[in-house]
């Protein structure tokens, strides 16, 4: 589904990604862990098409298409979704109106009819249950004045509405208390299927207790330095990132 080969990116003059390789197949959940500043969020942003980064090398194939050639909106319409670490507050745009526009633009791209008001409302009601989000929240301006938990639930709600092939969760656990974390993880788990895949970017292991990954990768200094199964996450939790840093530095010496 997603094949990343030797991906390199920089912001201004600073190289952040220094050759990432990753292969994600339908039905899989991959976790990317790593210390602060290792390039986790950069990877998520680059995949979603944020233009602040300059791609300096490598390729990304997304279901047969050259992902890096697509605009952010076309990536979304092709089935890529980024749950933002910091969802943006947009005064004056109602969440409902926004999500309706997004859903219908995607349907148009797929050659489908726009949903009418009744169909849209029905779908919305179903998906709202997934993340226990309230109608009143959705009629408010997008993310404006939402609590941290409400913002993250809104991200997962949008994900449910857009039914992506590949969802990237960028530190979705940050700023969440344990109850909100459970609700968010539960929403994600219900959306898992054999046809879609998830890339979960996180600093802490605790999210992975709820969203159990098939593979865990450790990103350090712009490269994936370890890959393994969920046990790797537990090992990191126990030993901290320092042991990885130490090992990597030993190898490069």
């Amino acid at each position: 589904m997603l094949k990343i080969e030797n991906l390199q990116a920089r912001i201004e003059e600073k190289a952040i990604l220094k050759g990432i390789n990753l292969d994600i197949k339908p039905g899989e959940v991959h976790a990317i862990m790593g210390p602060n500043g290792s390039g986790k969020s950069t990877l998520a942003s680059v995949l979603a098409g944020r233009e602040d980064y300059e791609i300096t090398g490598g390729t990304v194939d997304f279901m047969g298409k050259d992902l890096l050639e697509l605009s952010p909106e076309d990536r979304a319409k092709e089935g890529l979704f980024l749950a933002f670490q910091y969802p943006v507050e947009i005064p004056g745009v109602s969440t409902t109106n926004f999500i309706k526009t997004a859903v219908n633009e995607k349907r148009k791209y797929q050659g489908l009819e726009a949903l009418d008001a009744a169909q849209f409302l029905k779908t919305m009601k179903e998906k709202m249950k997934l993340v226990q989000i309230d109608q009143s929240l959705l009629s408010r301006s997008l993310n404006e004045g939402f609590s941290g938990g409400e913002k993250k639930r809104n991200e997962i709600f949008q994900m449910a509405m857009l039914e992506p092939k590949l969802a990237i969760l960028d530190e979705t656990d940050s700023g969440l208390d344990i109850d909100a974390l459970r609700i968010v993880a539960n929403g994600v788990n219900q959306l898992r299927s054999a046809d879609n895949a998830f890339l979960v970017v996180t600093h802490y292991q605790r999210l992975l207790d709820y969203i159990v990954p098939d593979f865990v990768h450790v990103l350090y200094n712009g490269r994936i330095v370890r890959s393994g199964t969920k046990e790797l996450a537990l090992e990191l939790e126990e030993k901290g990132y320092d042991f990885i840093k130490a090992e990597v530095e030993k190898e490069t010496v």
């Binding site: 979304a76 943006v88 005064p91 997004a102």
Partner: protein
């Protein structure tokens, strides 16, 4: 023949018929002759080359009035049955008007007649705005006041429908020059909404120089909406002068959605204690157009509250100008006055000039002002695009949201949705 000669000839043709307003007109014509048209070196006109709008192609001759049936299509949807005042080429046309509140709550009459019947009110208030605008433009309008209208909303009456003032300008024969004049008397306890709307009946250019002066009595409520979407062939200089004679509530929304050179003066003159006023404005410009909003909130007495928010979106090579004056005179203790001006530049050659100007002579007041000039928020744009919304639609959504703050201030549903439609079309939002 240059513009001044055209004006002079037009003036001498009409002033003989000014009746009871003859002396008022003569005085103002003399003042106009002394001041002339403002040049860029005039501090109040430094961004707005208004002299260029006055050209030798100006047309002032009157024609036969249009048929009412032909004007229907221009009436605001949903307000066809509202109170209607019609100006054609700057002159009040009573035949084309309509009174919905026919229970004697509303009186509409030619200003000339009123000058005889309500002589005291007229002598106190007609021309009051000139002391705020020593620039010839205001005096020029006053020299043609006899073509104006007088509106009285009677004591304690609440109008069932807005008063919509339509300004039709026929630009078929040249640059149509019109000078509408309105004097309104919103008596104690009365409540009214006045909507002004401007329509170019031809494909040529128009230039309108308007003065509307409105007074509110004790506990009166006045909503005023100026809706400008006459097209980019139309230039406008207008003064809206709202004078609170006693504690009252006044609320103004100015929407400039098109126009070649547009200058709006809005004065809130708060002469009584405990008054409240609101000033909102939106200018949505493109191509080489210019909109210049000059506002004045003049606090003379204690305990008044005013809130002001003007927003602008500039595309193409357009220019937005905002100048907001707040005067707090020495007796106006406990004044609360807030002002904000926010601009988004979307055209690479567009510009905005903004200037708050506070003059405070009392020592116990709360005043604040702020202004911003920026572009659309990149993070917000990316967020919308990352959900599959095209860049154009994402921009349109954000700009529309920016404009909504002002649109929401329009308290009449019909006017609001009419304006919203124009704005949505302009931002070309498509799904």
């Amino acid at each position: 023949m240059d513009a001044i000669t055209i004006l002079k000839e037009t003036y001498s043709l009409q002033t003989a018929n000014a009746g009871s307003l003859h002396a008022f007109q003569e005085d103002n014509w003399a003042q106009f002759t002394a001041w002339g048209l403002p040049a860029l070196k005039h501090e109040e006109w430094k961004y707005t080359r208004i002299r260029n709008a006055f050209s030798d192609k100006m047309v002032t001759a009157s024609h036969a009035l249009p048929q009412l049936a032909d004007l229907h299509k221009h009436f605001l949807p949903g307000l066809e049955e509202a109170n209607r005042i019609v100006f054609v080429n700057g002159r009040y046309a009573p035949e084309l008007g309509f009174i919905a509140d026919n229970d004697n709550s509303l009186q509409v009459a030619p200003l000339q007649n009123a000058a005889e019947e309500d002589a005291e009110f007229i002598s106190l208030h007609l021309g009051h705005s000139r002391q705020y605008h020593a620039d010839g433009i205001n005096a020029l309008n006053a020299a043609f006041a006899a073509g104006g209208v007088y509106i009285k909303v009677k004591k304690g009456k609440t109008l069932s429908a807005p008063i919509v003032i339509y300004h039709f300008a026929d630009s078929t024969d040249g640059i149509r020059f019109s000078q509408p004049r309105v004097l309104g008397n919103i008596e104690a306890g009365a409540q009214a909404m006045i909507v002004e709307h401007y329509i170019n009946l031809g494909k040529g250019e128009t230039l309108t120089n308007e003065v509307i002066e409105l007074c509110t009595g004790q506990d009166a409520v006045l909503h005023y909406i100026k809706l400008q979407d006459e097209g980019n062939n139309s230039s406008h200089t207008g003064t809206t002068h709202i004078r609170q004679l006693a504690k009252s509530l006044t609320h103004a929304v100015t929407l400039t959605l098109s126009g070649k050179i547009v200058r709006n003066n809005l004065n809130m003159v708060m002469e009584a204690a405990n008054g409240e006023s609101h000033l909102y404005g939106l200018y949505l410009l493109d191509n080489e157009t210019l909109a210049d909003n000059h506002t004045i909130v003049d606090n003379a007495m204690p305990n008044c509250y005013s809130n002001e928010l003007y927003k602008g979106i500039m595309d193409g090579q357009s220019t937005g100008v905002f100048n907001g004056k707040i005067f707090v005179r020495k007796d106006a203790q406990k004044t609360n006055a807030y002002q904000s001006n926010k601009n988004i530049l979307i055209g690479s050659q567009s510009s905005a000039n903004t200037k708050p100007q506070l003059e405070i002579f009392a020592d116990d007041v709360k005043c604040s002002h702020g202004c911003t000039i920026g572009k659309l928020d990149d993070d917000a744009l990316f967020y919308l695009r990352a959900r599959g919304i095209s860049e154009d639609n994402a921009r349109a959504l954000l700009l529309h949201a920016f404009a909504m703050d002002i649109l929401d201030q329009i308290k009449d549903e019909s006017v609001r949705s009419f304006a919203d439609q124009i704005i949505s079309n302009r931002l070309s939002f498509t799904v």
